[in-house]
Symmetry: C2
Subunit: 194 residues, 2 copies
DNA sequence: GTCTATAAAAGGATAGAC
DNA sequence: GTCTATCCTTTTATAGAC
């Protein structure tokens, strides 16, 4: 009667845990953390409420798992663009490309992260780490813009970061209405000139 | 025994309703809509739970009152900057000044509005109106940038809007760490040139 | 006009059966 | 590994006293 190996069990566990996480991500991003109930997650994932607690100790632990995944992904993507084999101009170009790609491909993650940024108490524990990564990224940007010959690289870095953040906001809210390709080209034009 | 006139009653009502609304605004902005309970609002406002329902039919009606106030305020501020007596350059300069002033003075409103933008279902009813106002404002901006001689006024308008949105995000998250004055000067420099 | 007490519902979390 | 049933807490909302 279908004897299962350890590996098969492990795979089932993986699938269940991942399915729950995916459902939670979608709902947290869509309705906010507090606005999403465990029942809703269970329904979306097609499992029972009880099963969720088999994989995640609490609703907050589930959130934590999602956050950690998102932060890691974002950080990794950012550093992919920073290959020093390329010229500063090309690196900035890369960052814009990667940024736009992330925004379109993983919009849910950023919707969640951004919305959580507005709910202190929910992810206060992660804020120091996220802020630190942000500052670190700003410094990288500053160096790039300095190498590119911008007169005020520090301001330019903040300017760039603000633009990318605002972009995320607009894409989230305007959806398909947002002229993505046009704006990417314009951003490259704006930021890659010395 | 202190007989009250109709006007006095009305004033008391006003004060209570406004106090509740202010408390709700602060908590909604801080903890999100779903994350804020009626009890918490009552405590913050220094009144009983019951009294809140005397002035607002439901938690959502309270939110609605706040949103309407915020949208009206933002719209009014934007149009204040659009005085056609001034040159395009001066108008854009004004919009930046007003934008920065709003962000620092009424940060709570924008925190709330922005956070709600991420919680569909909560204020879906207002989205069409807000989106329409946004498009209208973009068109105004486009005209201004065209008059200023920008080569791609439409993109520049979106670029400007994205920057201002991102700015709001950064100020909300970085707080006092954000170099406000510097960035305002830099923004003026960037956008007011033909 | 305001408060206290209470009803009615929903949410997070656990225990035990299969 | 998964589900159903249940407990306990919190929440929204109402009713009635002062």
């Amino acid at each position: 009667m279908s004897p299962k190996t350890k590996e098969q069990f492990e795979e089932i566990r993986q699938r269940s845990a991942a399915g729950i996480m995916q459902a939670a991500l979608e709902l947290f991003a869509h309705k906010g953390y507090s606005g999403t109930s465990i029942s809703a997650i269970a329904k979306e994932a097609g499992v029972s409420k009880g099963l969720i607690y088999n994989y995640y100790a609490s609703k907050e632990a589930l959130l934590e798992a999602i956050i950690l995944g998102a932060v890691e992904m974002g950080d990794k993507s950012f550093h992919e663009g920073l290959n020093p084999d390329f010229s500063p101009k090309e690196q900035i170009h890369n960052l814009i490309e990667i940024g736009f790609a992330m925004l379109t491909k993983n919009i849910q993650y950023w919707k969640l992260i951004t919305s959580l940024a507005f709910q202190p108490g929910v992810l206060d524990r992660f804020k120091p780490g996220i802020l630190e990564k942000g500052i670190e990224e700003l410094q990288h940007l500053e160096e790039l813009f300095r190498a590119l010959g911008k007169e005020k690289p520090k301001q330019e870095a903040l300017f760039f970061a603000a633009f990318m953040d605002g972009l995320a906001l607009q894409i989230m809210n305007m959806g398909e209405l947002f002229p993505l390709a046009e704006m990417k080209a314009y951003a490259i034009e704006k930021f890659c000139l010395s």
